[in-house]
Structures are given as structure tokens and as C-alpha cells.
């Protein structure tokens, strides 16, 4: 995979999966693409179809209704695909942890490779997270 990963690291295409978040991380992710932070200078681009994606940005606790669709999205993505959990929700459930509508086992739905905690994480933190991913891919 090393050869492939190094090619991948040159230009990561991300697809954004919002699995019942509060919308805030999603807005901050979009913020990364606009002039102030401009992630496109690192070759990172937001794409509209999961078939084109190298990285899935997942935000939110995954609720029971959306879980089968998230699983489907992961299955549809071309492998290898890396999943980045943005925000506290994918890592710890945030304040929605006891909800009756939350999936019991998140790992059964989608395996997450990298967590960026924060409610919401600052764009700088997200950039650092992505940089760490690039570092791993380049190694």
C-alpha cells in the first residue's frame, strides 16, 4: 500500500458524511475550503460523490435511522478509504450520549481511523489532523 498511499497523499479528495451532527462541524469543515484557511492549497478537495472519495469526514453521533445509509456509503467508497471523525460526537458522543436514538456500537457501522475532538474543533485543529493523516500516508 505504501506506493499507493504516497500517491494518495498528494491530493486527498474528501467526502463529507453528516450523521446526525449539530451542523457546527459541517460548517467548520466548509470553512476550511474558503479563503481564510484554503485547504485546496494542500490538494484537498471536497467532492460530491462518495465514489470519488479518498477520505470520509464523519461528524455527529450516528443515529439509528441514518446508520444503514452510513454503512452503505462506506461500502460504496473505493478502498482504501480513510475515515476521519470530526468533533466530540464521533469520539465520545458529546451531550447526546444517552439518546434513545443513538446506535449502540459505532464501530459496527463505520471504522474510524482518526479522531479530531472538539465541540467544534477549531479549523487549525482540523488542519493539524489532516496533516497527521498525510504524515502517516507518506511514511
Amino acid at each position: 500500500m505504501g506506493w499507493y498511499n504516497k500517491r494518495l497523499a498528494k491530493s486527498i479528495w474528501v467526502f463529507h458524511v453528516s450523521a446526525s451532527p449539530c451542523n457546527n462541524c459541517d460548517i467548520e469543515v466548509l470553512d476550511l475550503l474558503t479563503p481564510k484557511y484554503d485547504l485546496e492549497r494542500l490538494g484537498i478537495k471536497l467532492v460530491g460523490s462518495v465514489r470519488h472519495a479518498d477520505v470520509l469526514l464523519l461528524s455527529g453521533i450516528i443515529n439509528q435511522k441514518v446508520a444503514p445509509r452510513v454503512k452503505q456509503l462506506y461500502d460504496q467508497a473505493p478502498k482504501p478509504v480513510f475515515v476521519v471523525g470530526v468533533g466530540t460526537c464521533p469520539s465520545g458522543g458529546s451531550c447526546f450520549n444517552n439518546s434513545y436514538n443513538k446506535v449502540m456500537s459505532r464501530e459496527d457501522v463505520i471504522p474510524i481511523d482518526l479522531y479530531i475532538p472538539g465541540c467544534p474543533p477549531k479549523p487549525e485543529a482540523m488542519i493539524e489532523g489532516v496533516a497527521k493523516l498525510l504524515e502517516v500516508l507518506n511514511a
Binding site: Q64, K65, Y100, N101
Partner: protein
């Protein structure tokens, strides 16, 4: 100032248990008069339906509509109490106020309140839900 007094006089004995607070008016309406009272509020007084709240109280299931008079900030809140906790039923006001469609569907889903004559009696939030959410907001009292 909104003319709350004349509204109470006009409704007469159709409304009971009136609670008056500054710019807020809560009152109880029997289920058979609810269409008449909400029709008067919406069509004659020109109020806007903000939303409706269902609650489980000791007497039964309670549905509280919130009508807002936007010119004065006055709220009229007709309260309907259904004593049958197993199958609470009341007439739908969606034929009068189109904006009540979604909230009545939501109350049906979460509280099990049946609205007769509702034009679209479907689930709102848990359609195709893998688990059958059964009135998740009712109290689960241990007997």
C-alpha cells in the same frame, strides 16, 4: 393592547380554567369545541400558529396549542386534555390551519395522540426507522 377580555367574553363557557399572565393566556377547551376556537383565533383574530406541545400529566395527555398575535405579542394557548391515556383522540386542526400538519404528525409519533381527519396521518421523523420507536416521550413509570 390586545383585547383579551373581549376574547374571553366572546368564548363564554366554551373555555374554562383561564390563566392570565402578561401577554400570555392559557385556557382549557373541550375537544369538541377545539375547531371552533382555533378557527376563531386563526381566521378572525389573524393569529399565527407557533406550535403545539403535548405533555403527559396526571389527568391524561394534554395538547397545548400556541397561537401568537404578531402585532401585540399576545399568546393564546388553548389546552385540550384527553383522559384516555391508552388511546388519546382529538380532532385535527390541519383542515383549518395548514401549518399544523407537521406538528400533529410529530405528536402522533412521539405521544400516540390520534388526530381524526388528519390529511396525511404518517410518521414524520421515524419513517423507515429500523427500530420501532414506540411513543418514546411517554413517561416510563415503574408501577
Amino acid at each position: 393592547m390586545p383585547d383579551v377580555k373581549s376574547f374571553i367574553d366572546k368564548m363564554g363557557d366554551r373555555i374554562t380554567n383561564t390563566v392570565e399572565k402578561p401577554l400570555r393566556l392559557y385556557f382549557e377547551v373541550p375537544a369538541e369545541h377545539v375547531k371552533e376556537v382555533t378557527g376563531y383565533l386563526f381566521n378572525e383574530l389573524g393569529c399565527r400558529l407557533s406550535t403545539a406541545t403535548a405533555t403527559e400529566v396526571y389527568r391524561g395527555i394534554e395538547v397545548l396549542y400556541h397561537f401568537s398575535d404578531d402585532n401585540s405579542g399576545q399568546y393564546y394557548c388553548p389546552r385540550i386534555v384527553m383522559t384516555d391515556k391508552e388511546n388519546p383522540t382529538m380532532p385535527s386542526i390541519t383542515p383549518i390551519v395548514q401549518g399544523a400538519e407537521w406538528i400533529e404528525r410529530e405528536m402522533n409519533e412521539f405521544w400516540g395522540v390520534t388526530f381524526t381527519d388528519h390529511p396525511k396521518p404518517e410518521r414524520l421523523l421515524s419513517k423507515d426507522h429500523p427500530e420501532n420507536l414506540d411513543k418514546p416521550l411517554r413517561f416510563r413509570r415503574l408501577s
